[in-house]
Every structure is written in structure tokens, then in C-alpha cells.
Amino acid sequence: MNADLIQYLLRLGDSAMVQAQRLCQWCGRAPALEEELALMNVGLDLVGQARNWLEYAAELADDGRDADHLAFRRDERAYRNLLLVEQPNGDYAVTILKQFFYDAWHFAVLQGLVRSSDARIQGIAAKALKEVTYHLRRSGEWVERLGDGTEESRQRMIAALPLVWRYTVELVDADAVEQRLFQAGVIGNLQQIALDWQAQVEATFERATLPVPQAASHFYLSGRQGVHSEHLGLLLAEMQSLPRAYPDATW
């Protein structure tokens, strides 16, 4: 049970961390000054959440590693984030679609977690849910703006969709770890999460006048199992460079 829970906490924490890291890469390069603030706000929320999840995971694992160690010393094969969030930022259409698909999933997941049988999870999720409600509202509005904006923005969204969509299979396809945690009352109903995600995507895409693709099908990679795309290694190489170069250092 503890092993499952630790796995699941790493998934939540790693996804938030990697998504935030991608947002950091927009720093100073966002399409408007107002977006600089907004992207950094979302990133700040996510690093804060990652810290909460990883701290809990570290306590349960109790093997001498703390949250920083988990974030900055694990190899890519030990990272458990969704494939979706490790994908490169691309243009703003790709960035917004990644953010939106992640937010819609995150929102549904947290709605289950606020009713978790685990009080610690309940507490972290309650705070995170407020933040993610806002993230979803923002990214959903941007999907609408870009989908139903100019001809160019629409074409960019249509071009971005296939780059991102295939990775959404992980958002709606629960594995055995998650099934067991659901049965134990720790996390929400997985079918419900999938349905909520799908409904959110359909409603937003309709407003954005974008076509919803056929459900993505399973393929070889699985972020949750630590089998990532090639992008994660480079992302971690940058993020972890200082703690790796100076393993005994305090910062």
C-alpha cells in the first residue's frame, strides 16, 4: 500500500515539477508582458504543489532522501511525470494545449483527492484545487482565443494538436497502482476522472471551434512507469545541473 502511495505521490509531484520547469523556460520570452506574470504564477503554484507531494513521498519512503533530493537527484527513469508535460514548449499553441490538457486532468484528479481517505492528501489537494481551478479557467480561455481567433492562430492550433494529443492517453487510462489506490479510497474514481476530462475538453473545444480528435491510443511509452520520451533527460539535465555538479553543497 505504501509503495503504491509513494508511486502516486511521485507522479503528482513530478508532473507538477516538470510542467513548472517548462513554464520557467518561457521566462522573458512570453508573447505579452502580462503573460510573463501569469505563466510565472502558474509555475509558482506548481512548484509549491510539487514540494508538498514530494515531501510527503519522502516521509513515507523514509530512506534519508528529502523532497529536494527527490526533485534534483533522481534520473529520468525514476521520474514518474506524465509524458504530456515533458514535451517541448513549441509555439504558444503547443504550450497552451499542453497546459490545458494537463489542467483539465489535474482539476478532475484533485476533485477526487479532496475527498481522500488520507488526511494529508486531502489538505494538500484542497489548497491545490483552488489554484488549479484558476489555471484551468485561464488555459481554457486561451484555447478559445487561439482556436477561434485569427486564421493564423487557428491553423497553429490545428497543427499543434497532433503533437500533443497522443500523450493524453495517460490522462484517461488508469493503471493497476491507481486502481488499487481508488479501491482503498485514497484517490478518486478513475472513470469519473476520464469522463470529466473528456467533457471539459469537448466543451472547451466546441467554444474554440476546434475538432476533438479520436481518443488517443496506447503506445510504448509510459511516463508513470518511467519510460519517457527523449525530452525529459535534457530537461532534467538542466534542472538538476547544480545539485549534481556539487553533490555535497548547501544552497
Binding site: 505579452a32 508582458l33 502580462e34 506574470l37 501569469a38 504564477n41 485561464r138 480561455e141 482565443r145
Partner: protein
């Protein structure tokens, strides 16, 4: 020319207080203006409510009219409670 509209931002800092002007934001529409104002003017818990108004829609009094508009109220002291002298026996009123 700016691509986005300039909105003036008003923040209610606490329940029970008036909204107060704090500055402006650029946004494509009012909904975005609220979000941009939230990111810019309430990062440190400064607000419980926001108003945004397109700057072009605000009508302001002109400084040249300062005297005709505001000076006449200066000598109307009977509008203030302290103008009325009551005997001490009345107590607090």
C-alpha cells in the same frame, strides 16, 4: 497604437471598504483585464474584489474647474456635525 485596450483597475482590499484605483492593465477584453489585474495587483493578497473599466470610458473633472467644483463646499460648515454647539447636558450625540 496599443494592440490591447487600456483598462483602469480598482481593488477592494478588504470587505467593507470601497474599491480604490491602483493603476492600469492592457487586455484584449474585460475578462482578460480582470485576470491580468489579478496577476499584477493582487500577488500579495491585496484584494477581495476587482473592477476594471476601459480607460477611455472614464470621465474626469478638469483641474481648471477645481475652484468652481470644489471651492463652494469649503464654507458650508453647517454640513459638519462640529458646527452645532449643544449644551453639555445633552451628552454624546
Amino acid at each position: 497604437m496599443s494592440e490591447w485596450t487600456l483598462f483602469e483597475v480598482f481593488v477592494r482590499s478588504k470587505h467593507g471598504l470601497n474599491h480604490k484605483h491602483v493603476g492600469s492593465v492592457h487586455a484584449a477584453d474585460a475578462a482578460m483585464a480582470i485576470e491580468n489585474a489579478r496577476e499584477l495587483y493582487t500577488r500579495r493578497n491585496e484584494g477581495v474584489s476587482l473592477w476594471v473599466v476601459p480607460s477611455a470610458l472614464i470621465t474626469a473633472s478638469s483641474p481648471d474647474e477645481k475652484d468652481p467644483l470644489f471651492a463652494p463646499s469649503e464654507d458650508k460648515i453647517y454640513r459638519h456635525a462640529s458646527f452645532y454647539e449643544l449644551p453639555a447636558e445633552v451628552g454624546h450625540m
